[in-house]
Amino acid sequence: MAEQPRKDVVIVGYGAGSGPASVELARAGYSVVALERGPHWTAQRDFTPSQLDTLRWVTRDGMIPDFDRMPMTFRENQDEEAVPTAYLMSTLVGGATVHWSGQSWRFFEDDFRMKSTVEELYGQERLRYLEEDGASIADWPISYDEVEPYYERVETHVGIGGWPGNIQGRIRPVRADEGNPFEAPRENDYPFRPLRENATTLTYRYGALELGLHPFHVPTAILTRPYLSPYGISRPPCTYCTFCTGHGCWNASKSDTRVSLLPAAVATGNFELRPGCHVTRINHQNGRVESVEYVDTNTGEVHTQPGEIFLLGAYTFQNVRLLLHSGIDANGKVGQHFMTRSSPSANAIFNDRYLNGFNGPAVQRQGIDDFNGEVAHERKLELPDDEFFIRGAFMGSPSQRNPLETYDQVPPGVPTWGREYKRYLSENLNRYIGLQLLTEPLPYEHSRIDLDPNYSDQYGVPAARVTRRIGQNERRMGRFIFDRAVEILRAAGASQIWGSGEVEATPSMTHDTGGLRMGEDPGDSVTNRYCQMWDVPNLFIGGGAVFPTMAGKNPTQTIWMLSYWLADAIVQGRVDVDDAESFS
């Protein structure tokens, strides 16, 4: 076993959770190494033009080759035996941000104080059913106001565009009909505008306006003009090629850790990226991580990498697995309060128009937050007890409806093969809208990740075992949101609408968060407010595992934000890497 030269900072996994910190720490003069198990792909060499191919990248999951190699198991109840399951786990430099969609936003203010908010709005009595279900809702140990500048830094430095909905309390300050009026107040405008409209987004927008809702074009981590970031990285705007979600961008227009952050880290001269290096264990002693052990998959050699500060950014499941496998779980809380989304589905056909939904990246999308968070709390107060729920969902209208991705989208009653099927698809494929309904999942006491006793990977690390079932809140929300979706589609002029408000428990759906909850109490959480592990204070967590609660929104801007946040805490000495309980 070869020991590598010591580094100030050792990063495990190079995706969203580690990107910002890698730049900021290297810029502050720390020597930083990132161990990433996947390869380093580049736009020019690896994606042009091969990326414009749905079969290779989406159908055959060209970017996510890890189904077999990283086993995961799933069960709904803890007395069942878990069975192997599938999950979308990225394996490349930049992590899942390389093949993500790029719908990117800040959480609401009340997402950070979810428990207090719903208690104030609804009172204990109305929330009794949550207790019965074992829901473990909580407040975050940080507030929106504290992290607002970090959210802004993600927008300017990584590259995220949108219409502002709320600048310093002024609602829709730039254009009266654009921007999300329910977004948390921002200090400043976005650095550029979001993607333009297409037939799909215009249709959805019309339906939402008809109902008096507040549609907006979703903020996107996709450039719409040539952009020079404050790091001095310039990239060209999106050409609307449409091979976007599931693909790497051929044009480097889609912002991700690899194109927006990696070059800035490299430019410092303090940063070393080691692709193909798979970390298998965290070595620790007396409450300090000493080194990590990894296999260089290029050579098969095993190495140890010692360091002073460690950042674990290997995605929720691998983060939890690595900690448990390495025996880091002093208070028994590692793996608890895991959350993932189970969403209803709503689809429609518009007989009177073509939408050509294939022609645009998936996040060319209008959406509404009218039923997200507690925006609709007055209406929810009116609901009968057995329909009442807390929180809500973003509801939007994705594009990127290529035939290979949509040929299964036929309403009940239409056969899935034969003449009738072909006639149906020929007439309707380009008249199709399928909504994205981002329902917020709750954390539960019984929802967790631990190590599977039966399955392990090629390095002998046990599989992550997910135990999760959904509660009444998810079911009621699913039905309510589905009904609202139907109303919008109808108002937009849909000829036929189908789908379901019934949701099922899933082990994973790319927004897998919780498991390493941040909190104020070392006895009851895994990290402090700076994502620093209570029991091994020189170990920090990058990624959504630290979220105490989720949101009806995608997680990644918040993951990036927290990475900046924890890096600043280290650089500015707000944390003590020998003692997680003393910080300012």
Partner: protein, 222 residues
């Protein structure tokens, strides 16, 4: 979810029942075809197939032609070369499905021959539809055939049964980029008016509510 409509074929319920009766248990027998002899495979490389022998290729082509039907005017899976696509996939990235296809196609061919004394070439469209319908029904009832390789089945990904596997692969052969051997002359994309691989869509192209006219293009054309 079944969306297959029993009564839409000529001869409807009656011929369907007859076929089912005649073939009672026939398809279920597939489950015990495990002792299949690979060495007995015809070595013919019809149509430049890298994997299928002639009778396998014919049978699969017949099924594909009913899943996404067509003719010279309105080309379907056969005209798209969907079986050619599957053949090439099996000879490469989908190698884990090889055995499934061997066993399923061989078994079906044997059943047709032994019980009905016919080869697939002698079946008309209606009879083929019944055969496909039977495969589909069998999926829904019970997929204990155990014919699929572990990967997708265990992980709950992709096709999880015989019919779904064949259907999915046929549709891939219709809608994937022609570089994979299917979708010849873009006939799959033409059927749904999908122009394929383009770097650019303009605002004008995006903001119409009419069918888009853009040249059909493969990633190989870029």
């Amino acid at each position: 979810m079944s969306t297959h409509d029993d009564t839409r074929h000529d001869g409807s319920e009656w011929s369907r029942r007859t076929f089912l009766k005649r073939s009672a248990g026939a398809l279920a027998l597939l489950a015990v075809q495990g002792a299949f002899r690979f060495d007995a495979l015809a070595q013919e490389q019809q149509r430049g197939y890298q994997f299928f022998n002639r009778s396998e290729g014919e049978l699969l082509e017949a099924l594909a032609g009913r899943i996404w039907p067509g003719d010279a005017q309105d080309p379907g899976a056969i005209e798209a070369g969907a079986v050619h696509y599957i053949d090439r996939a099996l000879a490469g990235p989908y190698a884990s499905y090889q055995r499934s296809y061997r066993v399923i196609l061989h078994g079906l061919n044997e059943q047709l021959r032994q019980r009905f004394g016919v080869s697939v070439r002698e079946l008309d469209d209606d009879q083929l539809d019944l055969l496909v319908g039977e495969l589909e029904d069998q999926d829904e009832e019970d997929d204990e055939l155990g014919l699929l390789p572990g990967r997708e089945l265990e992980l709950g990904l992709g096709p999880d049964s015989t019919f779904q596997m064949i259907r999915q692969h046929v549709m891939e052969g219709v809608f994937s980029d022609p570089i994979y051997g299917g979708n010849r002359n873009f006939v799959g994309w033409r059927a749904v008016n999908y122009p394929g691989a383009h770097y650019v869509y303009t605002a004008e192209e995006q903001q119409v509510f009419e069918p888009l006219t853009k040249p059909y293009q493969s990633v190989a054309d870029l």
